[in-house]
Amino acid sequence: MYRWFLSLRYLRARRTNWIGAVGITVAVAALILILSIMSGFLQEGRDHLRGNLGDLIVMPNQDYPLLDRTLPRTNETELMELVRANPHVSGAALQLAWYGMLVPDEKNALLRHPIFGDLSLIHLVGIDIPDEYEASDLYENMQPSDADSAFQVTPVADMQEPFAPPSFYTPDGAPKAGIVLGAQLAASWNLRPGDEVELFSLGIDPATRSVQGQGCNRTFVVTGTFRSGENDMDMERVYVDRRDLADMLGRSTAWSQVLIKLHDYERDKVAAVDTLRRSLADSGFVHALSGNDVSDYFKGEVRTWEDLRGNMLGAIENEKSLMGIMLSLVMVVAGFTVFAILSMMVTEKRRDIGILTALGAHPRGVMSLFLMVGCWQAFLGASVGALLGVVGALNIDAIERWLSSTFGIQIFDRTIYLFDHIPSVIETTGVALILLGAIACTLIFATIPAWRAARLNPIDALRFE
């Protein structure tokens, strides 16, 4: 009984004990706060990086022969039947992706970028409607955006026919096919629905590996914009009808990749990639991995959107663990504080230790008495820290705004990041691990002085007044 009673009494009577608890509070709160914010960045990053990508992307290298020396097959109908037959797949869409340039005209010459000048690199994507809506987030990304969003989406007139020219469009000569642009691209080129825009591209001759002829260009009419949230995509990507693009480029194979949506991405991603790769390789649409000396390269033919954006996601993930490790050092410092405070206390309480031993306390009891003092500090510090950390993470935006307005320093620059708020996600397991870590760390540091207390000779402890 005396251990409970005395440890609480010592904790209450000695103010320095609170310093240890405060140290742990700060460490735990900081760790939870930073890791929540990093998780928030990671999640926002994932949401934005995904852009208009589907769950899986099949991108065969159509120019490289298979093991039997024939080129991969390109039959659209059979390919789509095969993909849709996979039990994990809920939607699939063919795409023809290529690069081109936007050719400026008189109207937007004033707005041209001073460095990039007249040219703007464009990622041309030919799509099928409505397949595309089932395989990617394009449908949602073409809806009107929130009023406070930096780049406003101009929706198309008819979602089922997004490439149909707007009703007010009066063609200059032959009617042109429609084009949907990224919102940032449309804003920087000052393009609105009804405006005509000229695209320029070059094809590569598969046989000679050289540029085909003089290149090709075609004029399209803007029908609307989209916003995926991924800056590069919204700055560079344009959507046109797949047949129009194939026609413009003079391609015989009118697709280059397949976007696939799964029923449950997180659950099925590994199995889906595996089964799709096998069935597509068996049918000769992609390269088999076995027996191929460049199989690592061909792994990229069927992959998840995360594989495609792996570098970016990996970087944020890396930062998160780095921050965690660095902040854990704060915890170690807090542990040292507890160690110092308890060591001082054991020295101060030598006489008490002697008295307790004389009254019949076991050395192990004395040890646990001082361990409990450490324990109280750990529990108190960790629980207050967890509370502060979680409340702080939930209200980080308000806290940042208050700090910024009170001290006049901009802590979070909203123009640098894509988001207009500081993202934070509280991970329950993360918080639990931090709490456990804090308590374990404190107890480890408390063990040394507690052990010293237990080894104290009661005679020496009682000898001096």
Partner: protein, 259 residues
Amino acid sequence: MQGTQDSSNAAQRTTPAPAPDASMLLVGRDIRRSFPVGERRLEVLHGVDLELGPGQRISLMGASGAGKTTLLNILGLLDRPTEGEVWLDGQEAWSLTTRERALLRNASIGFVFQFYHLLAELNALENTLLPAMIALPPAAYRSRKGEFEDKAAAMLERFGLTNRLKHRPGQLSGGEQQRVAIARALLLDPPLIIADEPTGNLDSATGERVLELLFEEQESRSTALLLVTHDRRLAKRCERVVHMEDGLVQADSTLTMPT
């Protein structure tokens, strides 16, 4: 009367001794204690034999450095003798485990120190309750808390500390602190009280009153008392006076108690 045992008898023993007389409460046999001083060892106790029956009152006298406190620590199970045995309540204390010895100390010995040795963070009542808190785990203590508190409070009130129960040691006089220490030593009704110069730090009048209290309690409870003192007058009030000199018992005289 028990024990006018000559130390030379014990010194001649060569084979392990059988268990001592079961009627004895405390038996020390051939106790030797030496301490390392530099590369040599300094022997403080040279083979002390001492027996104490239940309810007996012994005073241990001797000049400073005679080994009184060392002997007391050994008999109080706080210090291990270099050689020899200490039997308490029929058990050889130093052959027990640390835990068993701690339990034995808790149940069988009450200490009264010269410097009171109360815990500064606890009030008088809590200090008195400490042996019970050490003896029992939390659940068992809580179920008997009222009983112990009543007992401790009654004792402190009898000792004249009625208005001092909630006072911390720093708020009590020396005499009051020593009375709290005596109450603490008596709480679990141990068969043996060990008092190391309990009045050494008090003025004579206060010391006298504290001692009266200690003797009264000892008599009414039939507790054995081992008292270390410099004061001859005080020693005369004990049944036996043991004189120590240079780490040996020089004289062990039985007195006739004044009636």
